[in-house]
Amino acid sequence: MNPLLSVRGLMKSYVIRSGAFGRSSGQIHAVDGVDLDLMPNETVGLVGESGCGKTTLGKLILRLEKPDQGKIVFDGEDITHATGETLKRVRRGMQVVFQDPFGSLNPRKRVRTIIEEPMVVHRTGSGREIRERAGELAEMVGLSPDMMKRYPHEFSGGQRQRICIARALAINPRIVICDEPVSALDVSIQAQVINLLTDLQDRLHLTYLFISHDLAVVGYLSHRTAVMYRGRIVELAPTGAIFTEPLHPYTRCLMDAVPEVSVKAGSPGRMLKGSVSREASSVPGCAFRDSCSMGTDECLGTKPVLREISEGHFVACHLS
């Protein structure tokens, strides 16, 4: 089967400006050579801590940011440099749900207008068809018809996220990029939205790129999981394998740091030495070497590349 979306050697760096005149004082490699495939009807989870480049990767795929280098292929078509009408057509196939349901809805528009807008922009049908479709979408995500004439501020976080999902699905996209869609929600509501996303995928055969900092949440949704660290994918495997046999030391740190919901005496997690630095790692070698407990000379000298260790399990570490 051919991948629906394929990313090769994607790079994006930003210039850091400092001082009164904004002189450039360095570069941040936000995304530093990422290869990733999304199969049809698959969910790939993208996990990492703040500043690791996961959101930037999502924006690059959506072409909300221009990549410096690399290639993005969507459904067999190279869209890396698409512009104008081509880009508009490509975006019909890719939609996004953002993290903050409070900031991503226009407060001055009614829910109906918000859900109808993408269909109006992309001219998917007559006014009546659009109205009917909006009603269907609202029902699909669990909003009652009388909510359609209300404004976003009248809704709770979970309901707003449902509106965002309905809007994203309005023009029948094939890929939905979910950028931390549940991290602003309470646990009981978070569970509702996670279940909704799974149901919608089964019903509409959607493909998700699910970006999150929470490994546990990713486990409930993803077929495969990619762990990002400082702009690179350091481990990529079927989700089950990530949980049962994490290979990269950073993945293990992440797993250990998740607090368990049970009381066990004396089980302090393995702690990271130092902190996740956001500075450019222009020096050779592994970006994780300073925090890694098992570093060797090789880790200082050469950057590890992603290698396949067992079937479908890739890791970028000299030690495995």
Binding site: S188, A191, T198, G240, L254, D256, P259, L272, S275
Partner: protein
């Protein structure tokens, strides 16, 4: 005064025998008077905290946990808020009866607080060293008479919270530090006066998991070293399980369950607590496709608070009485209190 009268059921709870009580809250009521009407943010809360214990206050947004924390320090903005009833006994003194002057000498000195967003809780135009020094100069003149001496105490505090090269870092401004570092500075500031009680409101929510683990480890270490009692306000049951001895679960301004952490996690009683625990995603292999339990509905808004038990519209174990009458507190086991009709007669 209209304090609720359920003192009889609530005596002798979570604090184990032998531990002295540092904080005792009885029938606390904090309300907000808004144009849309009165909001009972904290509605008759009873809590007890033993000396050197860590009490976790858990609940979802809007359940009143932050207002409860602010009420203890009497930091509820007034108007629109007001504490209308109850008592807060801290080391035997009722904080609600103190005048502004005496309250100020306790705040930041004997009781201090860490807020959720480290980046916005620090003053951006002062160096972190001078911000820590300010607390010491304000409250503990005997430890440092001059700014210079206070600054060296600040340096020691930064070293204690694990910041490298504190002699340089004291001259840094908040924007030069990462979120985790800022939270360490906040902890250093809160601990500078060696408080008897530390209230931490979602101290790790804005941080990454690995940083969270470091900060929680640091807080536990300092707590042992200084002998502080801690109230940890959080929405994360995992964090509570890791660091707290006692837990109070809040819903719509009430404490619905209060017990030791061990008892709560091994045998949750209130349907809301059970629901919360089941809806937490767990790290387990091959959970894809497995449905996550979700509590139906949403937290009611103050405008449409249900009659009877405020949880009944979402409760899977609802009974007739729940729709009619507010539940009382019951103690099915000694030290395990639950506010639910299911346990009437136990």
């Amino acid at each position: 005064m209209n304090t609720p009268h359920h003192a009889a059921e609530t005596s002798g709870q979570a604090v184990p025998a032998g531990a002295r009580t540092i904080l005792e809250i009885r029938g606390l009521q904090t309300r907000f008077f808004t144009p849309e009407g009165e909001v009972k943010a904290v509605d008759g809360v009873d809590l007890t905290l033993g000396e050197r214990h860590t009490l976790g206050i858990v609940g979802e947004s809007g359940c009143g946990k932050t207002v409860l924390a602010l009420s203890i320090l009497r930091l509820v903005p007034e108007p629109p808020g007001r504490i209308v009833g109850g008592s807060i006994l801290f080391q035997g003194i009722d904080l609600l009866s103190l005048d502004g002057e005496s309250m100020r000498s306790i705040r930041g000195n004997k009781i201090s607080m860490i807020f959720q967003e480290p980046m916005t809780s620090l003053n951006p135009v002062f160096t972190i060293g001078s911000q820590i020094a300010e607390v010491i100069l304000l409250h503990q003149r005997e430890r440092a008479a001059h700014f210079r001496e206070a600054l060296s105490v600040a340096e020691d505090m930064l070293r204690m919270v694990g910041i490298s090269q504190p002699e340089k870092r004291i001259h840094d401004y908040p924007h030069q530090l990462s979120g985790g570092m800022c939270q360490r500075v906040m902890i250093a500031m809160a601990m500078a006066c060696r408080p008897d009680l530390l209230i931490a409101d979602e101290p790790t929510t804005a941080l990454d998991v690995t940083t969270q683990a470091q900060i929680l480890g640091l807080m536990s270490g300092l707590k042992e070293e200084i002998g502080t009692s801690v109230i940890l306000v959080t929405h994360d049951l995992g964090v509570v399980a890791q660091v707290c001895q006692d837990v109070a679960v809040m819903y719509t301004g009430h404490v619905v369950e209060h017990s030791s952490a061990e008892s709560l996690f091994s045998d949750p009683l209130h349907p809301y607590t059970k629901g919360l625990m089941r809806s937490v995603p767990r790290l387990s292999a091959g959970s894809r496709g497995e449905r996550l339990y979700a509590i139906p509905g949403a937290v009611p808004t103050p405008r449409d608070m249900p009659q009877g038990c405020t949880f009944h519209p979402r409760c899977p174990e609802v009974m007739d009485i729940c729709r009619r009458e507010c539940p009382k507190d019951f103690d099915p086991y000694p030290g395990h209190r639950v506010r639910c009709w299911r346990y009437a007669g136990t």
